[in-house]
């Protein structure tokens, strides 16, 4: 199958990315799987965009799909094709067929019977291509609801993918899953409300998510590009990025402007006909992630510095930048001192930069972050990524505790997010000091062993 590429001219918008952002974004070569819309139709309705009473223009759909494919090829990426099957009109949306990480494919189990037969086609294709592939046990609509960003697998639920599929994916791929709940049925898949631009950057439409998911997204990606209602309606978030070029549905003016401002090169393509089935650029594109050519050796765990004194640790006690409370810090300093540790109490409102520079100076055996103002979760997520991003502190034990959200203890999900982000332990309000003491004892024994 070799569709002609000659008639398609890319609507590459904005050749001038601006004075300071032009060269900062780096594209990496990608491999995508697409399915031609040979049998595309709207004969049933499984999302609010689908209206079976209006006939589709299959020729126009094919033109639009072709432009997407050509855009990828012109940008230097490889596009593989899976043969379309008659009677499966939505198979053009290959993103929903599987999630592929490190050459391993977890094939979809569709929510609606109308699409169930697509799974077998994907299983066959992956087997023929010698991928390690298996079908998900729980309802799982592939990259429709699972997107890789910065070592996280962002996972949507609410309309299609079962929450239990999140745990299954975490186990299958061995990478941390961040569960996100969708609440607006126009944005029924994660990839209709959020796009990954590079390892650190996403763009998304907050109103498509439940409040706790909005909080998580803000904590993980404070610098995200935020889509307006209009951008989201234009399906502008159903986009594919190679780290520099972002192929997205035309009409999301707010997003293209912001992308350009941030040094990305938006490539707008018309998807009006595909959108009649609730699909855009991303829906037509499944990324095939292969193992990296040369596996990087994991960084050697930094040795713990010699204890402050026999049996004692050197501990930095601090809080997050926005938190002005100090009694928690005063108490922790006293309690840790009594246990024989040397404590530096940085006091309230410690900017991330100051904490890191102090830690680089004293090289503590343990960093204790205590926060009670309700911003501990979102600020803590940012703080730990900065600490872990600092090579010298990548392996320093860091724990966080206190009242971490404005609505009271949130249970395991918030704890898991914090742990996955790099904290070594989380002591939410109510956990008590015993667990914290036990943690420091274990650390002390390890340090003196």
């Amino acid at each position: 199958m070799k569709p002609a590429a000659d008639d398609a001219r890319l609507a590459v918008t904005g050749p001038d990315p601006g004075p300071d952002a032009s060269s900062s974004r780096v594209a990496t070569e990608r491999r995508y799987l697409m399915c031609p819309p040979t049998h595309f139709d709207v004969v049933y309705s499984i999302n609010p965009w689908m209206d079976p009473s209006e006939p589709v223009n299959r020729w126009l759909a094919l033109q639009q799909w072709q432009r997407i494919r050509d855009a990828f090829v012109e940008l230097g990426h490889t596009v593989e094709l899976i043969p379309p099957i008659p009677g499966l009109p939505d198979m053009v949306f290959s993103a929903n067929g599987a999630t592929v990480v490190d050459g391993r494919a977890l094939v979809a189990r569709f929510r609606y019977d109308e699409r169930a037969a697509e799974s077998a086609a994907y299983l066959d294709w992956f087997a023929a291509q010698r991928y390690e592939a298996c079908q998900a046990a729980w309802t799982n609509e592939g990259e429709g609801d699972f997107l890789m960003a910065g070592g996280w697998l962002l996972a949507g639920t609410g309309f299609r993918t079962d929450r239990r599929a999140h745990a299954e994916s975490e186990e299958f791929f061995g990478c941390p899953v961040v569960g996100l709940t969708l609440v607006n049925d126009e944005y029924y898949h994660l990839d209709t409300a959020l796009a990954v631009l590079d390892e650190q950057t996403i763009m998304y439409y907050p109103a498509a998510f439940a409040p706790d998911s909005q909080e998580i997204l803000y904590a993980l990606f404070p610098d995200a590009i935020i889509a307006t209602d209009k951008d989201a309606r234009a399906f502008g978030l159903n986009a594919v990025s190679d780290g520099r070029h972002v192929v997205l549905p035309a009409g999301a003016a707010g997003l293209t402007a912001q992308l350009r401002e941030r040094g990305f090169e938006p490539v707008e393509v018309e998807v009006s006909e595909l959108l009649r089935a609730g699909g855009g650029v991303k829906c037509c594109t499944l990324e095939l992630r292969h193992p990296a050519e040369a596996e990087l050796a994991p960084p050697a765990a930094a040795e713990l510095t010699a204890p402050a004194e026999a049996g004692g640790l050197s501990v930095v006690v601090t809080t997050v930048a926005s938190d002005s409370h100090s009694w928690n810090l005063v108490y922790l300093r006293l309690a840790l001192t009594e246990l024989g540790h040397q404590v530096l109490n940085l006091g309230p409102c410690v900017p991330d930069e100051l904490l890191i520079s102090e830690c680089l100076r004293v090289r503590p055996d343990l960093i204790v972050v205590s926060s009670v103002n309700g911003h501990g979760f979102i600020d803590g997520m940012q703080l730990i990524s900065r600490i872990r991003g600092c090579q010298e502190l990548a392996a320093t034990p860091v724990v966080i505790g206190g009242k971490l959200g404005i609505a009271g203890p949130a249970g395991r999900s918030r704890r898991n997010q914090l742990m996955a982000a790099g904290f070594d332990a989380v002591f939410e309000d109510g956990t008590g000091m015993a667990a914290f003491r036990a943690f420091t004892e274990r650390l002390t024994m390890k340090a003196t062993a």
């Binding site: 935020i226 002005s324 009242k403």
Partner: protein
Amino acid sequence: MNVGLGLAGSFGGFVARAHQVGDLVVQPRMGMSSPRAMRAGLLATKRATATKVGTITLDSYTRTGNHDRARGAIASGVELNGYPIVAHDVSTTRGVLDGVAGPDFPVQIRHGSPCPEDIFGALIAAGLHATEGGPVSYCLPYSRAPLDASVRSWARCCELLASLAETGVEPHLETFGGGMMGQLCPPGLLIAISVLECLFFRQYGLRSVSLSYAQQTSPEQDAEAVLALRRLAAEWLPGVDSHVVIYAYMGVYPRTAGGATRLLSDAARLAVKTRAARLIVKTVTEAYRIPSIADNVDALEAAAAAAAAERRAPAACSAADTGIYAEASALIEAVANLRPDVGRGLADAFRAGYLDIPYCPHPDNAGRTRSFIDISGRLQWSAIGSMPIRRVTGATGSGELTSDGLLASLSYVERKYDDVSPDEHLDIAPMLAPAVASP
């Protein structure tokens, strides 16, 4: 109290009129990030069965000057722990206040910022003229900003706020000095800082101020402290419209609804008994989370009811003089004698340890004082460092609490009001007395 200023339509004037007819003004600490919720909160406050004023409490990002992060949070739909008045534009805030705030319902901005230029600018632009804080009280316990920088910033902010008087409404500024560290600061130092910060406000042109005092561990000691504060205000702030505001307990709060309500009622009784004019409430959910609008309204009405009951059947206010007035006077005089300029006097006083907040880890605080709760439940000094109050306090030790002792002290009020069994009180009591070394 009314000294012939143009107090019509002002925060100070509203409180003064209520005080004249014997009503205690109650006020929440409410702050929500969404303009719609904030407006709903103000409207609910306005409808509460009480003599009340409104509050917009700001979020932590705004307090620390991180407006970009506040803006990012709003755009991302994340709820903050208060209203980001700088991140929201002026028209949004005016929309929140429109038809709500007015002479019959003054609204005060509460924040916690050592360098609040942006906040003052935003509240003035929104048409407001009452706020609170102070160069010491919003610097030492709550930030890492150098005290000098906070003093300079607050001087500019006071001048800016004071200039509103030209527009015909008398601006009002409340010192947060009575709430230093929230707990475990003996009353003499609290009321001294309250008076000193109001002297600072007056120096920079403000003519309507309030002096604060936060409820502590002993009702008798609290009553003595508030009466001393009123006496000191009369002596040190003649010609200024001033009133006393009580903060319901600011430390570790009772976890039971009954305990929380009793503690709030005691705060209301304290205010009525000592003729304080205003009370800032806490809610029954304080120990767990940021209170809801309904929690706040309940607290306002409970406090108003407790105040009314106290007025109907006043208990005798027996506040024996244990030296709080003398201690505070000594501290105020020491600072006033250091420099003619109150701001520089305050900075020098902390540098010299004349003022020294117990347990406060700020680099500009000497950190040589310590306090404890004695067997009768009163806050006492266990170490006074270089503070010039030796002749009042007599000899103290240099005792440092153990961590368990500190925790017991911090939770003293919680345990008392949650009615923990007497046995448990006995278990903890020995830890309350710090080890006292011979001087």
